[in-house]
């Protein structure tokens, strides 16, 4: 399933991209949002240094300058200076619970952590140790220790961390993706089958895509029933036409039979025999119309069984022309053959193709009672993918606006105007025969706006015996 793998690939790529983006976004957020809080004020270490610098010894007493005092006040902090012996030599707002003298052990303890739960910071002063204390619970103090190895391998570790993150993202996305795909695959298959209009699609309507599956199922059911209805209707129509034409045959037999008997009857007056002849000829016309109607309707609904074999159209062309000439074609009609690429074969039904060619020639003869020149051409198209069979005449042709709908059936709703020129089922049949051979019929006016030019276009049979554009 090419499509599903593509979906999975897209999904994984998108997930990884999103993961990396999230990672970077988080780092930035960490730097800008979380750790900026600490640096809003001067850091405790900075303040201690400032206080230590601001404390000046004047004779025997100490004097803190304005700036440092202000700083301490702002932070609600206190300060003291421890002398060499561990006694407080100077203080500023020293809380009552803080002792006044310290041993070496005490100093070592509080210098790193807390002094009586006050977070304190120390700095060197030329007269001792400066200690600044903040209010209780205002600062958390932690001790960080790093080995040099650890520091030097930090970049590598960060890269490793990133890689692990990437791998994890990949794993998660693949797992989620495949789970999703497993759920989607039957849906995709179902939709594909739906498009192919094969047998009905029945999907499992459980799981996260349950409602979607249900929709596909019902769409398939609707499609199936519509196709069935359409087929039934086509068949009914075709059967109806076949039935009608069958039922017409018996009465028509009687009409033809008795009319031709009367025509040959020597006792009847000439006038009556002539009239019987008209009845006979019209009956024969009706006969051919009935069989044409049957064939056209079968072609229309694709119910005509095709007997396909490789055929050279030039052979059929000569056969048709010969038949016309042998059956006494009037001298007013001149038929000219221009056949090239005679070796080319198409896959076709010989009887139908003969019928089509014969219909085209007959069409030119019937609609040009004053006589005309009929030219039959057959050759490959320029790109050698189609074989063109052209029948054109120098007759009166067909009006431009009628050309488009002349291949529609008489009773078709696609035909806007009623038929005026009395064209029969000939051209509609040719169009349908061409279509049944995966080809088409193109009608146009002749080169000098006179006459009719009918082109049948067929796909050419390639060397390996298959039709080029699609299978039959």
């Amino acid at each position: 399933m090419e499509g599903i793998i593509r979906i999975l690939r897209r999904f994984v790529a998108t997930t990884i991209f999103i993961s990396i983006f999230l990672l970077i976004f988080n780092f930035v957020l960490l730097g800008t949002l979380v750790f900026t809080e600490n640096y809003q004020h001067p850091s405790p270490e900075g303040m201690v240094k400032q206080v230590a610098n601001g404390l000046e010894k004047q004779d025997d007493s100490f004097q803190l300058d304005e700036q440092a005092t202000e700083l301490l006040k702002q932070n609600d902090a206190w300060a003291m200076l421890l002398g060499e012996k561990g006694h407080v030599r100077w203080d500023y707002h020293l809380p009552h619970d803080v002792p006044k003298s310290y041993s070496l052990v005490d100093v070592a303890k509080f210098s790193r952590y807390y002094l009586m739960d006050y977070p304190v910071y120390t700095s060197e002063h030329k007269d001792g140790l400066m200690v600044v204390g903040y209010p209780k619970e205002s600062h958390w103090k932690y001790q960080l220790d790093f080995l040099p190895d650890w520091i030097s391998s930090l970049p590598l570790r960060i890269v490793l961390l990133l890689l692990c993150n990437l791998a994890l993202a990949l794993l998660i996305s693949v797992v989620i993706g495949t789970r999703l795909i497993r759920k989607i695959r039957p849906l995709v298959d179902g939709v594909h089958n739906l498009a192919r209009e094969q047998e009905s699609v029945q999907l499992d309507a459980k799981g996260i895509f349950g409602d979607l599956a249900q929709s596909i199922n019902s769409a398939s059911a609707i499609l199936q029933s519509k196709t069935a209805a359409l087929q039934a209707r086509d068949e009914a129509r075709s059967n109806w036409i076949a039935g009608i034409s069958h039922d017409i045959r018996t009465p028509l037999s009687l009409v033809l039979g008795y009319a031709s008997e009367m025509e040959d009857h020597s006792d009847l007056p000439k006038e009556q025999r002539h009239q019987a002849g008209i009845i006979r000829r019209q009956g024969e016309k009706l006969r051919s119309l009935v069989s044409d109607l049957n064939l056209v309707s079968m072609l229309e609904y694709e119910m005509q069984p095709m007997h396909l074999k490789p055929i050279r159209l030039s052979v059929l062309a000569r056969q048709v022309v010969t038949e016309f000439l042998n059956n006494g074609l009037d001298d007013r009609y001149v038929i000219e053959l221009k056949l090239t690429d005679e070796a080319v074969q198409i896959q076709g039904d010989e009887k139908l193709l003969l019928r089509a060619i014969s219909n085209l020639v007959q069409n030119s003869v019937r609609h040009n009672s004053q006589g005309c020149k009929i030219i039959i051409e057959a050759s490959l198209s320029n790109d050698r993918s189609h074989y063109l069979f052209i029948v054109r005449d120098s007759g009166r042709g067909i009006l431009q606006e009628q050309l488009a709908e002349i291949t529609e059936l008489h009773y078709s709703t696609r035909r806007k105007r009623p038929d005026q020129q009395g064209h029969g089922l000939g051209l509609p049949m040719v169009a349908r025969i061409a279509k049944a051979h995966h080809g088409r019929l193109i009608l146009a006016s002749g080169s000098d706006q006179r006459g009719l030019r009918a082109v049948m276009e067929f796909p050419v049979q390639s060397q390996n015996g298959k039709v080029d554009n699609e299978e039959i």
Binding site: H246, T250, S253, L256, G257, S260, V315, R318, N326, A343
Partner: protein, 237 residues
């Protein structure tokens, strides 16, 4: 040939008008021993008792179809059978002929056609069993004997080669009509004979040398440009 007219004919059709009409035509043609039946059962019983010489059979009958009736008749008789049916699809025709019918006519039909086809079958089946011979015919000065593949000309005998003979037979079968070169090639070299047109021209030339006084100005074997050839036969012996 007159004795063909006293052959017994059975017409099986469920339409009474059709039966009457066919019977009428056949009587006019001189047949007088005509039976009719409207369904399979009565047709079978007439076949058993009357032993008709030929049966004209409709396909759709009230108590079965003509195809199965044909099969039942074939079980005890080789009577020639001609189908006359309103079912004109290729499949029906092929089925009928495949089952062993002698001909298949689709309604509506012209009575003359029916009588002609009937006569062809009767002639084939009942004429005296002479060895079928190919004709001999006269073309101007020449007499062409297709049976022995010889052209008689001024007391000389010009033998025809196999190909020349095949060409002349095909042309003679379609005398006075154009035969396409494709059809001639197929008759001589069989199917898939595309590309033999030039060879055919050579053979035609040789045929002309034997049957034409002036082969360059043929008067019997004419070329129809772009289509094929035509054999003009005026006298038939």
């Amino acid at each position: 040939m007159e004795n063909l007219k006293d052959k017994k004919i059975l017409i099986v059709d469920d339409e009474p008008e059709i039966r009457i009409m066919i019977e009428r035509f056949l009587r006019k043609e001189g047949f007088f021993r005509i039976f009719t039946a409207a369904d399979c059962a009565s047709a079978l019983s007439i076949c058993h008792t009357g032993k008709p010489d030929i049966v004209i059979l409709d396909v759709m009958l009230p108590d079965g179809d003509g195809f199965s009736l044909l099969s039942s008749i074939r079980q005890f008789s080789e009577t020639p059978i001609l189908f006359l049916s309103a079912r004109g699809e290729d499949e029906d025709r092929l089925l009928g002929l495949g089952l062993g019918a002698d001909d298949y006519i689709v309604k509506p039909f012209l009575p003359r056609e029916l009588v002609l086809r009937l006569m062809v079958i009767l002639k084939r089946v009942f004429s005296s069993p002479v060895v079928e011979r190919l004709s001999a015919f006269r073309l101007g000065e020449q007499i062409i004997d297709l049976d022995s593949a010889v052209v008689h000309r001024n007391d000389k005998e010009l033998p025809l080669t196999a190909k020349e003979h095949a060409i002349l037979v095909k042309l003679y079968e379609n005398q006075n009509r154009i035969v396409t070169s494709d059809a001639l090639c197929q008759a001589v070299w069989g199917d898939d004979s595309y590309g033999y047109e030039n060879t055919l021209m050579v053979h035609i030339r040789r045929v002309r040398e034997k049957i034409e006084l002036d082969p360059s100005k043929p008067i019997h074997l004419l070329t129809v440009r772009g289509l094929g050839y035509k054999l003009l036969v005026k006298e038939i012996r």
